[in-house]
Amino acid sequence: MAEVESSVEFSSSLTSSTLPPPRTRIFKIIVIGDSGVGKTCLTYRFCAGKFPEKTEATIGVDFRERLVEIDGEKIKIQLWDTAGQERFRKSMVQHYYRNVHAVVFVYDVTSAASFRSLPAWIEECKQHALGTEVPRILVGNKCDLQDSIQVGTDVAQQFADAHSMPLFETSAKNPTNQGDGSYGRGNSDHVEAIFMTVAHKLKSQKPLVLSQPPGGPGGPGGTVTLGRARDDGGDGARSWGCSSC
């Protein structure tokens, strides 16, 4: 049974002692959204490969990371998991918005309230000067709860379009066996593919300045190799422009 040890727990892989090759690039991605939408589960799913049976309230910020390989380059994806309760955002989390390469907004498809909070989160992101050049995506989580869906794909897609973000619907709990196996609208996207898509996007951007100096500590155990994850501009809906943020 997988469980998140505590809010300050880290993907266990970091403690393994293998050193990454010199100059491993780090992609720092912040994950935000209302309390309970599944941010901790999504980040855990990506970094540890499983759904945590027990999560706890995230107090402050927490981060997990994983080493992946994209087109032959090893890249460290660092996910910053944040507290959802409003009081933590204002004075606490702001420190961690610095040097963020991408933002993942999460809502819960079974909670209309979590969807209604999105404009506030987008505003928040804007206040931290995460603007035009920072890729952002929108993730609707808990797609496995088919019977209690409150936020339809159409509404979410409209919102995503209006804010020039690609939309993904997924389930941290059960990311594989929904839909017909394709990842089109109305079906669920694989958590893995979502974060890898962001990583691809970041990699395809002009070289990032942030890099890890040679001999830095820690090397996540699980290395994943993914060629081209998927075409992210195919249907035109999944745009990356950030003009409104």
Binding site: S7, V8, S35, E56, A57, I59, Q85, S91, Y96, P213
Partner: protein, 415 residues
């Protein structure tokens, strides 16, 4: 002198604070300490200074039976004049209801490992109620994620009604700053951390400043009194002994002591925010708690808050926890021992002033002698269950059975 009772623990609920003791010196200091604590409890007025010293010094209050008696005294709570169990309406129209529900429902790890799910579920519902009850009573208090970690510690040790009374006092004093509408005051308290470290180890301080690690790694330590990050409940209880007897800023001094204790590890880490945050936020479970408690006490004496506050960053802010601490401590000086309080309560008798309870018969029975209660435990439990709805009854019964293993005080609090 009452000998600490050993109880069978079928539910795996071993909440006492006794570590595996090394029995070369056959714990004579413990016996002596137990005697001192009992004596302090029986003095009239209660010898609160001795209790505080005992709670902070080696081993803390040693056993849960004593914690149940001493913790209320440290908070000036009269266990014979407790608030009622919350009614159903406590959940109605509370702005924090959803957040509390969410946080409590997923806080499974705080409950003893072997506890059956039905029992845990009942305690979780109680936890929601006590939190909302306290919040409702004091509208100036705002729920924060982590508050439930404090509440659960109290609930597991002393049961529902005592937990309400104690949580109420704690929230208006030690935890008060965390319960403002914003976290600004909390941030202010976190700002004490780096200056303490600087006093002791400038090099470490400078390293952390260069890494820009910030202080959020210690946030959950501070606002949950480490309840959120410790996996062994006995460690949490030991720290609560210490904090209940100490200045509200003491958790920050302990945070400094922990960071200083890990100085070598920290300096060996890459000087980078993420790496240092990761290292520090992950608290080693085998910390030498007694040593660190001693050190934080020493740090506090050597660099008291007033001295640190002279530093620019700490000047302006007004902390309610700190400013009300002295009067709070004074208020604890005139408590009567439990034997007297019990007699006084009985004398007020069936006029049922404050104890206008939904189960008046039970209430009267419960204030009878504890020995009697223990002897008739099962009958008491059944009586209580009869008063409850059929659906909840079975689960409550299970909890009550466990409570009998925990101790009579726990049962007192259940109904």
């Amino acid at each position: 002198m009452t000998k600490p009772k050993r109880r069978k623990n079928n539910a795996g609920v071993r909440v006492n604070g006794n570590g595996p003791s090394v029995t070369r010196e056959p714990d004579s200091w413990k016996k002596q300490k137990l005697a001192e604590i009992h004596q302090a409890l029986n003095s009239d007025p209660v010898d609160i200074e001795t209790l505080r010293r005992a709670a902070a010094s080696k081993g803390g209050l040693l056993i849960d039976e004593l914690r149940r008696k001493v913790w209320p005294k440290l908070l000036n709570v009269n266990v014979y004049d407790l608030p009622h169990k919350p009614g159903r309406d406590v959940r109605e129209n509370h702005k924090d209801y959803n957040q509390v529900l969410l946080d409590v429902r997923r806080s499974m790890k705080r409950f003893p490992k072997g506890m059956p799910a039905t029992e845990r579920a009942v305690l979780q519902e109680q936890l929601i109620d006590i939190i909302l009850e306290v919040l409702k009573h004091s509208p100036q208090l705002h729920y924060y994620q982590g508050y439930h970690d404090v509440a659960v510690t109290l609930l597991l040790l002393v049961g529902e009604r005592r937990a309400i009374a104690m949580l109420h006092t704690l929230s208006n004093h030690h935890l008060r700053d965390f319960m403002d509408p914003t976290m600004d005051s909390t941030k202010h308290i976190l700002n004490y951390l780096m200056p303490i470290i600087e006093q002791v180890d400038t090099e470490l301080h400078d390293f952390m400043i260069r890494a820009e690690v910030g202080t959020i790694f210690a946030l959950s330590w501070l606002i949950t009194w480490y309840g959120h990050v410790l996996s062994e409940f006995r460690h949490t209880l030991r720290l609560y002994d210490f904090f209940l007897a100490s200045h509200p800023l003491m958790p920050i001094y302990l945070a400094a002591a922990i960071v200083l204790h890990r100085e070598k590890e920290v300096k060996r880490t890459e000087c980078d925010m993420a790496m240092v945050h990761h290292l520090l936020s992950r608290i080693p479970q085998d910390l030498p708690y007694e040593l660190l408690i001693g050190r934080s006490q020493a740090l506090f004496d050597q660099y008291p808050p007033s001295l640190l506050a002279k530093r620019a960053a700490l000047q302006s802010h007004k902390s309610l926890s700190i400013s009300t601490f002295q009067s709070f401590q004074l208020s604890t000086l005139h408590q009567r021992p439990d034997s007297v309080l019990q007699r006084l309560t009985k004398a007020r008798g069936s006029s049922a002033s404050r104890h206008d309870h939904r189960h008046p018969g039970l209430e009267a029975a419960l204030s009878r002698d504890r020995g009697l209660l223990l002897g008739q435990g099962n009958r008491m439990v059944k009586m209580a269950v009869w008063g409850l709805s059929a659906t909840l009854g079975a689960a409550v019964f299970a909890v009550a059975q466990t409570a009998m293993d925990w101790g009579p005080e726990m049962l007192f609090q259940l109904f």
